[in-house]
C-alpha cells in the first residue's frame, strides 16, 4: 500500500505526554510552552513512526515530505498565467514574456499532474496532508479526536440518565408528599374560601397554616429537587458544549493542531489594520490571527497599497487597496472585501448666504436674530464655495433658542440645562436677552474604500479562548479567502466532492434555510448545513466554519462533542489547507 492510499490509524502511537505541547515554541500561537523537542527522543517521534509505516524503505523526513507536498499544492492552485503584451515592448521582450508564461504554466501543470497521479485530485492531496497533520496533532496533544468525542458522548449520556432518574425520583417524592399532606392542604384551602373575609385574623391564621403544609410538601422532596436542578444544569452545559471537561479537551486538541501545523510552517504574525479600526476589535482579531499560517497573514498585508477595482455609482475605478477596518458589532459579524467608509464629524450648522444679513452686519456687526449669526468667509471658504472676488457672501450659523421649561430641560436656577448655552443680547434692544446654543449636524469629511471585518461575542467553547475568538477566526478566514491565492479553489473542489452524487455525478441542489430565504446551501452531511453556502464562487463557508469548529469549539469541535457528529474528512481538509495552501517561496 502506498503512502498516498494508506489509512492512518488515529490512535496515538504511544506518546500520552500531552500538555507540554501546549507551549510549543514554533506554534507562534500565543501559547507559552517549553520546547518539548528537548525532552523527546526519536523513538517518541510519531512523525518518524508514521514515516516508517508509510515508507518501508524509510529515510524520508515526513515534515520535509509535507513541505514538498505543500509546495506542489500551492503551485497547483495558482491561476494559469496569462501573457501580458504591453505597448512599447520589443519583440524580444514579448518573446521572453511568452516563454516565461509558458514555463510557469508548465510548472503549474506538472505539479497538478503529480498530485493527481498520486492522490487523485489536488483536493485529495490536501486531505491526505490533513490526515497526517491530524495524526501528528493527536500524538502531540496526547489525546485523539475519537477519545474526546466518545468521552463527551459518554458524559452526555450519563448526564441524561442522571437527570431522568432524578426527575423520576423527584416526581415520586412529590407524589408521596401529596399523599401525606395533600388532604390537609386541600382542607385548609376549602376553609379559607368559605371563611367570612371580615375575620381577617382567622384568614391570616388559615393561610399561614396552609403555607406551612405546602412547605412540608416542598421540603419532603427538596434534596431531590436541588439535585435535579444541578443535574439539569450539567446536562444543559454538556448539550451546549460548555462543559469544563469538553472545553479543556478541545483546547488540548486545538493546541495539538497548532503544534503540528507549527512544525510544518510558521504560524501567526501581525495583521495590518486600518487606522480607523477599533482597539477592542484589533485585539480580538490579533488573538485569532495566531492560529493562521504566517504566509497568509503576509499575503493579507501585502495586498495593502496595491491596486484594486472599486465599483461605485460612477462605475468602476481603480483605487489603492487599503488595510481592513476592524470593528466590534452587536449584529451579525461579517467580512466585506471593499466598502465605502465615510468619516463624519459634528460640525456647526452653517450655510453660505448671499443677500442675507448685510443690513445687520452694517448696523451692528452681527445678527439681530438669536436664531442666526453671520460672519465673513475665510479665503479658504471663499475658494471652496466658489465665491468670486467682489461678491458679497456671509456664513450663516444657525442657533437653537431656549424657550422655557416646557420645551427644554431646565436647571433649578432657571437656566437651560445641557452644554453650549450662551446668553445672547439683542443688539437693537439690549434689554432683550435670551439663551441660545449653536446647532450642529454630522457632516461627511472624508470617505475611502476599504475592506471591513467585524466580530462579536459568543460563549467561548474552548478553554482559555476569549469570547470573540471563534467569530474572529471565522471572519479572518474570509479575509484570507480574498488574499491567499488557491484557497477558494480548494474549497470549491472540496465542496464539489462532498455535494456530488458519486454514482450519477449530479450535484446536490441548493436549498433555502427557510422559505424564500437568500441563504441557500448544499447541506451534504456537514455538521452545519451552512458549511455548504457559497458566495457566487468568490468565497465559501468551508474554511470559516471549519476553523471556528477546530479552534473555536463550534459544531462540537468537529469531533463529536455537544451531541454533534464528527466529521474527520472535513477536519482533515481544514488542517490540510492550513498546512499546505498559500505557501510562499523561502529565500
Amino acid at each position: 500500500m502506498s503512502a498516498s492510499t494508506r489509512e492512518y490509524v488515529r490512535k496515538p502511537a504511544g506518546l500520552p505526554t500531552g500538555g507540554e505541547f501546549a507551549e510549543h515554541a514554533k506554534a507562534g500561537s500565543g501559547l507559552a510552552l517549553v520546547n518539548y523537542a528537548d525532552e523527546l527522543t526519536d523513538d517518541d517521534d510519531p512523525w518518524l513512526q508514521a514515516a516508517d509505516e508509510d515508507e518501508p524503505q524509510g529515510g524520508k523526513d515526513p515534515v520535509a515530505e509535507l513541505v514538498q507536498l505543500s509546495e506542489d499544492i500551492t503551485l497547483a492552485t495558482q491561476p494559469t498565467p496569462s501573457i501580458m503584451v504591453r505597448g512599447g515592448m520589443s519583440p524580444q521582450e514579448r518573446e521572453r514574456e511568452r516563454e516565461e508564461a509558458h514555463a510557469r504554466a508548465d510548472e503549474i501543470n506538472a505539479a497538478r499532474r503529480r498530485l493527481e497521479a498520486e492522490y487523485g485530485t489536488v483536493e485529495q492531496a490536501v486531505v491526505h496532508a490533513g490526515h497526517r497533520v491530524a495524526h501528528r496533532a493527536e500524538e502531540l496533544a496526547g489525546i485523539t479526536a475519537e477519545e474526546v468525542g466518545a468521552a463527551a458522548q459518554q458524559r452526555l449520556e450519563e448526564a441524561e440518565s442522571a437527570y431522568n432518574e432524578l426527575k423520576e425520583k423527584h416526581s415520586a417524592l412529590r407524589a408521596e408528599a401529596e399523599e401525606m399532606y395533600g388532604a390537609e392542604r386541600d382542607e385548609l384551602t376549602r376553609q379559607v374560601r368559605q371563611l367570612d373575609y371580615g375575620d381577617r385574623a382567622e384568614v391570616e391564621r388559615l393561610k399561614n397554616a396552609r403555607f406551612a403544609v405546602e412547605r412540608k410538601i416542598a421540603d419532603h422532596s427538596r434534596p431531590a429537587f436541588d439535585a435535579l436542578i444541578e443535574a439539569q444544569t450539567r446536562l444543559g452545559l454538556l448539550r451546549n458544549g460548555q462543559d469544563d471537561q469538553v472545553r479543556a479537551d478541545l483546547r488540548r486538541l486545538s493546541d495539538g493542531y497548532l503544534a503540528a501545523l507549527g512544525e510544518v510552517r510558521e504560524l501567526g504574525g501581525q495583521m495590518v489594520w486600518h487606522e480607523k479600526s477599533a482597539k477592542k476589535a484589533r485585539e480580538a482579531f490579533d488573538e485569532a490571527t495566531a492560529i493562521f499560517p504566517a504566509d497568509w497573514v503576509a499575503a493579507s498585508n501585502d495586498r495593502i497599497g496595491g491596486n484594486r477595482e472599486a465599483r461605485g455609482l460612477l462605475g468602476v475605478r481603480t483605487v489603492a487597496d487599503q488595510a481592513p477596518v476592524a470593528k466590534m458589532s452587536s449584529r451579525r459579524a461579517h467580512y466585506v472585501d471593499g466598502r465605502t467608509h465615510k468619516t463624519k464629524k459634528r460640525m456647526p450648522r452653517e450655510t453660505v448666504t448671499v443677500g442675507f444679513g448685510d443690513e445687520d452686519m452694517q448696523a451692528y456687526g452681527r445678527s439681530s436674530s438669536p436664531y442666526t449669526e453671520y460672519r465673513e468667509l475665510t479665503a479658504e471658504e471663499r475658494e471652496r464655495h466658489q465665491v468670486f472676488a467682489g461678491d458679497r457672501a456671509l456664513m450663516r450659523t444657525q442657533y437653537e433658542v431656549y424657550r422655557g421649561p416646557y420645551s427644554h430641560k431646565t436647571n433649578p436656577d432657571g437656566t437651560p440645562a445641557g452644554r453650549g448655552w450662551e446668553e445672547w443680547t439683542d443688539p437693537a434692544n439690549p434689554q432683550r436677552k435670551v439663551w441660545r446654543r449653536m446647532k450642529h449636524r454630522m457632516q461627511e469629511v472624508s470617505s475611502e474604500f476599504a475592506p471591513e471585518i467585524t466580530t462579536n461575542r459568543q460563549v467561548p467553547l474552548v478553554e482559555g479562548r476569549s469570547d470573540t475568538f471563534a467569530v474572529s477566526a471565522h471572519e479572518l478566514s474570509h479575509r484570507f479567502e480574498y488574499s491567499v491565492p488557491g484557497l477558494t479553489q480548494l474549497e470549491a473542489q472540496f465542496l464539489r466532492r462532498r455535494t456530488t452524487d458519486p454514482e450519477t455525478g449530479e450535484p446536490e441542489p441548493y436549498r433555502p434555510l427557510w422559505p424564500g430565504s437568500r441563504e441557500r446551501v448544499q447541506a451534504d452531511n456537514f455538521i452545519t448545513a451552512y458549511t455548504g453556502k457559497t458566495y457566487d464562487g468568490e468565497a465559501y463557508e468551508v474554511l470559516s466554519t471549519g476553523v471556528d469548529s477546530l479552534f473555536g469549539g463550534r459544531n462540537g469541535g468537529m469531533v463529536g462533542t455537544a451531541g454533534e457528529k464528527a466529521d474527520p474528512d472535513m477536519r482533515a481538509f481544514i488542517l490540510g489547507v492550513m498546512a499546505t495552501a498559500g505557501r510562499r517561496p523561502r529565500s
Partner: protein, 106 residues
C-alpha cells in the same frame, strides 16, 4: 378574539425527520419532538442553523424554532413559518457574512 394557532405554525425538517409547533405544542417525528420538549424543559439556548443563538420556548414561534432545532441545530431547514418569523430571520441575516463589496446603495 383568539388568534388562529395554525397561523403561527412552524415546521422544520432535519435529516428527513419533520416536526411542527402549532402555536401550543410540538408534534411530529418523535426524535425531534422529544428533543424540542427537552430543550424547553432545560431552558436551553440553541444555535439555530448553527449560527443564531435563540432561547427555546413553546410559547412563541422564535423560541419554538429554537426548540425544534435542538435535535441537530446545524442541520435544520424551516419548511413553514409565520411571516413574523421569516421577516425576523431576514433581518438577522440581512448583512451577508461575507461579500466582495457592499451592496449597491449601502
Amino acid at each position: 378574539m383568539d388568534e388562529n394557532p395554525s397561523d403561527k405554525t412552524v415546521t422544520v425538517e432535519i435529516d428527513g425527520l419533520t416536526a411542527s409547533w402549532n402555536g401550543r405544542e410540538f408534534t411530529g417525528d418523535t426524535e425531534l419532538v422529544e428533543a424540542a420538549k427537552r430543550a424547553v424543559e432545560l431552558r436551553e439556548t440553541v444555535e439555530v442553523f448553527g449560527r443564531i443563538p435563540i432561547d427555546t420556548t413553546s410559547v412563541d414561534p422564535y423560541g419554538a424554532l429554537a426548540a425544534l432545532s435542538a435535535y441537530r441545530p446545524g442541520r435544520v431547514f424551516v419548511t413553514q413559518a409565520p411571516e413574523e418569523l421569516t421577516d425576523w430571520l431576514e433581518l438577522v441575516f440581512e448583512a451577508n457574512d461575507c461579500q466582495a463589496r457592499e451592496p449597491a446603495g449601502a
